[in-house]
Symmetry: C2
Subunit: 241 residues, 2 copies
């Protein structure tokens, strides 16, 4: 009985892993790097994405970015990104009536891929459903995971939601401009973060003031470059005049 229950769970995760590998193969073929962007509701994922897209528009080394928006209902976030005319945006609603899914899985992402011009992208950012639990359990074929955690959420979150913090490749500590107005102990948060994920990189950022957004863009550019097919990269950079 015990073994059987484990097998069922294993099968479900296996099915997701199989579809995630199919997604990954498609991303490889298109030469697109994929970032799975996660956080609690209201941590500022969309705002951080808006600020990054604004800066990238002015950078010569900017990758061609597409966005996949995952929400339970509605297209508020997708609408916020519509002003970036060069950024294709697709929307997944996880709510088929009652029984809304609280996360994206590999199959949901797969079903949305035909909506995006993968071959014309260098970087796909998948904005997951706001939730610190289940999104961490489902790989969708991504190259890297980023999570945002705002300073208004308290220092204990890595200890309470360890899987999310343990499986991400970058933590954006957002709303850092609010620090003077909070009793938030940043060193204690970082200690908790290091306890569950030793060595994970983090950036102090503010979607409002712009602090740390250049560094966040640098990280995105580096992820996109890591995936760029050699054929597309310039054989030699033109010498400076």
């Amino acid at each position: 009985m015990h073994v059987k229950r484990i097998r069922v769970v294993q099968d479900a995760l296996d099915a997701n892993a199989t579809i995630a590998r199919a997604n990954r193969a498609d991303f490889d073929r298109a030469g697109v790097a994929v970032v799975n962007f996660m956080s609690a509701p209201g941590s500022g994922k969309t705002a951080l994405l808006e600020r990054a897209l604004e800066r990238l528009e002015r950078r010569a080394d900017a990758p061609r970015v597409g966005v996949l928006e995952g929400d339970v209902q509605g297209r508020l976030d997708a609408d916020r990104l519509a002003r970036f005319h060069d950024v294709p945006v697709a929307q997944i609603d996880t709510d088929p009536g009652f029984g809304a899914e609280c996360h994206l899985d590999a199959n949901m992402v797969r079903s949305a891929l035909p909506l995006l011009p993968l071959d014309d992208l260098d970087l796909l950012v998948i904005e997951n459903v706001g939730n610190l639990v289940c999104p961490a359990e489902f790989r969708v074929g991504e190259d890297a995971r980023v999570m945002a955690c705002s300073v208004t959420e308290g220092e204990d979150k890595p200890l309470k939601y360890p899987l999310m913090f343990r499986t991400c490749d970058l933590v954006l500590v957002n709303k850092i401009d609010l620090l003077p107005h909070l009793e938030y102990d940043l060193p204690r948060f970082l200690e908790n973060l290091q306890a569950v994920h030793p060595g994970v990189p983090w950036l102090a950022v503010s979607a409002r003031t712009g602090e740390g957004i250049d560094a966040w863009c640098d990280w995105l550019v580096a992820i996109a470059r890591r995936r760029a097919p050699a054929a597309v990269a310039p054989a030699s950079a033109p010498a400076a005049p």
Copy 2:
């Protein structure tokens, strides 16, 4: 095939409803009112509960309160409440290894009831896992649902997580002391809230400054009274001297 899939979902929800009714029968027998307290991670549920328990300690009309803490992992919140010596606290960890549940359901609550002296309580507060999606889908036998939503989370949350806001009986708009430091449009939030749940009561509160905590206590006292068995209520209040 389609019909079969619906039946499976229906069965799962039916199973939860059946167990929720059993919980409810136990609560009725003990004469205890039950509040299901929900929010996103970091909205301040535990802090709002701490402030309420502090105030209630000094009130003559205070109900005898117990707390059931739901977390993915750890007992940080339960430890924070340990200083209230008269408040029994039980902890549910939803994380049996990998595959942590992102919500409490009726069966998890049922499994924890033997840890609490229900007959000696007037009010049981169940602090759910921090998540705006799945907790709303699972009744646990509660009399009322309260949710906390902090002003740092943005005005759009009722539109993005409508089921949660639609099924709650009180909304605590927390961290109201931070309003001067945010571009948060409270009237717009309330408009969104009314759009998904017309007429739902709400309170502006701050666990930090204490604003609104008396009103939050009044609400808890009223819920506990509504459930108090007639035999326990005084036949007539003693006249003031």
